[in-house]
Each structure stands twice: as C-alpha cells, then as structure tokens.
Symmetry: C2
Subunit: 307 residues, 2 copies
C-alpha cells in the first residue's frame, strides 16, 4: 500500500491528503436539513449528513488527490450510525482509487493491539469465514506502550501489505509536555523516531517503508531532524493551514527525491466555503470550494518545494 | 461517578474489575454454535456470541463486583456488529448497577479529543436533540499528546460527573521503551503521574479525583512511587493473573484507607473454565467458573491487604 500511496502521489503530483473530519458545523445547512428531513435530528440523521457531505467533497476532488484521512473520532461521536458512515466513507474512497488513512490513533498491547489491527487493516476470522471489518489502507498508531503495541500492527501490515503512521511529534501546542522531554540530552520524539526507523526496516515497500510517522507541520525544525532519523519513513504531516503550518515550513519534511511526506489539511479543505477567500462559491457549492482549496494547497506546496 | 465507584467497592468489599474482553476462543463452543446457528458464521454471529457470553458472566458475577471494563478493541474487530455488542454490554452492565470503564485508550487533540469524550462519556448534539452514544462511566485515555488531549475529556467529565484513567505505566514487557526513559534522572511515567495529579486536582469527587491512572500490577515498585505522586487518583491495575501479577504485588497500589486501587482481571475471570483449577465446572458452566474465580481473586487480594 505504501507503493500505491507513492504511485498516487506521483500521478497527481500532489503530496497532500484531505482530512475527512466532518464536524456538523462544517456541513452546510441545506445538507443537514435534507438528512434531518429523512432521518430526523437523530444519530442516523447526523450520519447521513456526514456521508452526503463527504461524498460530495470526494466526488469533487478525487482526481486531484492521492489519499484521504478520515478522523474516526468525528464518526465515533455519533455512535453506531456514525461508525456506519465511517465505513461507507472508507469504502467509497477506495472505490474512487484513493488511499485511505484511518486516523484512529489506536494503541494497546498484545492480543488487544492485534484486534485493532485486524479490525482496521486486516481480516478477522469467524468460524470458517473471514471478514475485513473496516479495511482502511493505513492506520495511525500511538507509540506510548512500546513495541508490544506496534508489533501486532506490523504483523498484519506485512500480511496485508498495508501500513501505519506512528505518532512521533504531534502538531498541537502541548505536544512538548512529554514528547520534547530530554533523555540523555535528546528529546523523546527522536527516540520514538529511531524506533519507527527500526520497526520500518523489517517491512519495506519499494522505496519507502510500511511504517511511517506523524510529525506536525507546526514544528519544522524538528521535522528536519526527524527526516534524517527516519529516511525511509513516509511522514504524515498534520497542522497545515488551520493549525498554522505553511508551505515553506514543509520543505524539510521531504527527501531529496521530492517524496517522503504527505501533508494533511482537514477543515482548510472540507470547510473551505466558510473562508472569506472562497466565500463567492456559496454554501450550495461547498464541494467546488473544496476543489479550489485543494488546487491552492497543491500550488502552495509545489511552490515551496521549487517545483 | 468516582463516588459511585468507591461506594460500589465498599459495598462489595471487592477492589476488582472484571475485564470483558471476549476473544472468540474464550467463548465455549456451545455458545458460539448457538449464535452461528442463528446468524451464520458472520460478524453478526460473532457479535451475538460475545453478547451472550458477556451476559452470562455478568449475570453470574454482578452481585460480587463493583465494576466491569469492556475492552473495545475486542468488539471493534468485529466491525459494526461488534460495536453494537459493545454498546449492548455497556447498557446491560449499567442496568445491573455496575460501573462501566470503557477501555478505549483514545487520545487525540482539541475538537477530536472532544469528539471522543462526548461519544464515550458525554452527549453529542444533533440539531435540537442530544444523544449519549456509548455512555460509559469511565474511559481510559492515552497521554502522549499532552494536556491538549486530556483537557477535552476533563471538560466532559466535569459536566457529566464521569471520569478517566490515564495510562501512566502499562503492564506490558516493552512499556519501559518510552515510559521508563529518564528525564533529569526521573522516569517519564513519574512525570505523567505528576500531570495526572495536577489534572485531577481540578476535578475532585468526595475523596478521590475524577482523574485516575493506569499502572500495571507487573511493576509493583513503580506502583509504590506512583501511589505517593498521585494520592487522590484511583489506580486501575491491569496485569493481575494471566500477565503474572499476584495479590502480594498489589499492596502498595492502595492507600492507607484500603481504597485507591481497583485491580483488573480479564481472561483469568471470563475464561476461568479453561484453567485446570476450574476445569470441573465444564464449558457448559463457564459462568459459574467465572464466579468462583471472582471469589478466589477477591480472597487473594483481601489476604494480601490483611483484611
């Protein structure tokens, strides 16, 4: 799947991923109204609004982008119907040829970690049958529990040729509370980065590993160091746009081959119609606004990379 | 809810929690067969088997125990039907008067963490309505992202009088890879413990805080130190039984009031019928074996505490 991700990025010339994190207040009123008319102001209604919103954005952008990253929390908050909308979104994006990164940030140990891994990336056995319950292409994983938490994911990744992105240095302001703490003079996130490189060595695609890393756009200097520590890891970069990261901050997340990083934007794309810059599209044409925002983001990043 | 947890523990005189982590191979064949006869060897069939297994164990033990801890991964791996079985289990345990600790180990930032918090502990708004989608009493939370990840849970906990257990020192062998790393001579888990104490100060129940901690039974010396660092935090202790922790290892996790810790056992209880010790019950009477295992576990811990 890392090979497909790289191929998709080369094809679209767009090292970006659209974060499908549909908060209800991002969804235009006419979409919500239609869903509520059918299902009421219920969890089912919310799930339908999310699904219709996602579908319109995917339909309007899929030819420009290599991948999407649905944030499962935004679906899980609507209970079972929300999880159904998550699943529907994953399936639809895959039909459209997109790589799907499940932003699930799971992390546990042993058989529990294995359960998450089969549930999201692999197949679960029931009697003589097996099923791929959520079937994303990649999942994000929290490293706090160490190798016991990551290895079960690796086993499934190797079997299914799928991948993970391990949280190394997150984009939020308080990420330093633990991640920046110095161990023998070096921050914890470097240690985690070294582990990512080691875990990744045993699961290589053609040029990059099945094991990637999450490093926030908001910390470009740290990104530069981590790029060197994990040369074969694809870096998933959140924090662009709404969280403050800009194209020029991203240069050092990439390798010299122009690859190695994929930059996420969520509300900057999916709620673009709410920005002054794209206001002329109007809420009715929110999906066209998202397309324009994708084009602008790609241009910004290409410009920064000198392409 | 921390007050209810303490009250339940005093009433039952059992500082334990039963981990409802129903792997299919723990579930007796007759239960699986019946579920598969009705729903086929499908995700629905697996979910039904899990639910019937859980229900029997809860019916057989609820009067002896204060709380249960369903591990969501074991349900999530069976997709949507699995999540429905999780929800059904949570609801049923609450009907029985048990405190429900959702072992979800979620952790994200800002609005995403808030989405997990409302989805699992609070209420989510849809139009003019609001819903409590999963509605556990407590949730476990991963601290790697710092305060930005924990505060949204705290906001919901204060509003709903619910609680969280933050991963501090986990029970697994590789937990030390990051958690034991020394920062100015002190391990990371102590730093996390200090944060737990600080987060907990602003959300106090009568004697204990809404903010608890997870510390593995397999590291009793660390538990002793952490007990002092977080005097008002309830400690959820995994790793008893199958993972190697014994009653005598647990003494220092408790405060002098005999409270302050709740010890989890999962497969040691729910799959007790598979142990030589309880083999005479037979698979047909698996729930009775679980009851006997609960009684033995309570006696072991009481003995260790000198009660």
């Amino acid at each position: 799947m890392i090979n497909k991700l790289v191929a998709n990025i080369k094809k679209t010339e767009a090292p970006i991923v659209v974060g499908l994190d549909p908060m209800l207040n991002y969804i235009p009123e006419h979409v919500q109204k239609k869903a509520f008319a059918e299902y009421g102001e219920t969890l089912e209604g919310a799930a339908e609004a999310i699904w219709q919103f996602n579908k319109a954005i995917v339909d309007s952008t899929y030819d420009l982008i290599p991948a999407v990253k649905p944030q499962i929390a935004m679906y899980e908050q609507f209970g079972i119907p929300g999880m159904q909308a998550f699943k529907k979104t994953v399936d639809y994006c895959k039909e459209k040829g997109l790589v799907v990164i499940g932003d699930i940030k799971r992390g546990d140990i042993g058989s529990t970690s294995a359960a998450y891994a089969v549930g999201h990336l692999g197949k679960v056995a029931v009697g003589n049958n097996s099923f791929a319950p959520f079937d994303e292409d990649f999942a994000t994983v929290n490293p706090y529990l160490g190798s016991d938490g990551v290895n079960p994911f690796l086993d499934v990744c190797k079997e299914e040729k799928k991948g993970i992105f391990v949280l190394v240095k997150t984009s939020n302001p308080s990420s330093g509370e633990f991640q920046d703490q110095k161990i023998d003079g070096r921050p914890l996130y470097e240690l985690v980065g070294e582990k990512v490189a080691a875990w990744g060595e045993e699961a290589m695609g053609d040029d990059y590993s099945y094991v990637g890393a999450v490093v926030g756009a908001t910390y470009p200097e740290m990104g530069k160091v981590l790029r060197k520590i994990m040369p074969k890891a694809y870096i998933l970069v959140p924090g662009y746009g709404a969280q403050g990261g800009k194209g020029k901050d991203l240069v050092h997340f990439f390798n010299e081959d122009g690859l190695g990083a994929i930059v996420n934007s969520s509300r900057g794309i999916i709620a673009a119609y709410k920005q002054e810059k794209y206001a002329n599209f109007g809420a009715e044409n929110f999906a066209d606004a998202s397309r324009a925002a994708v084009e602008d983001m790609v241009a910004d990043i290409k410009g920064a990379l000198g392409k």
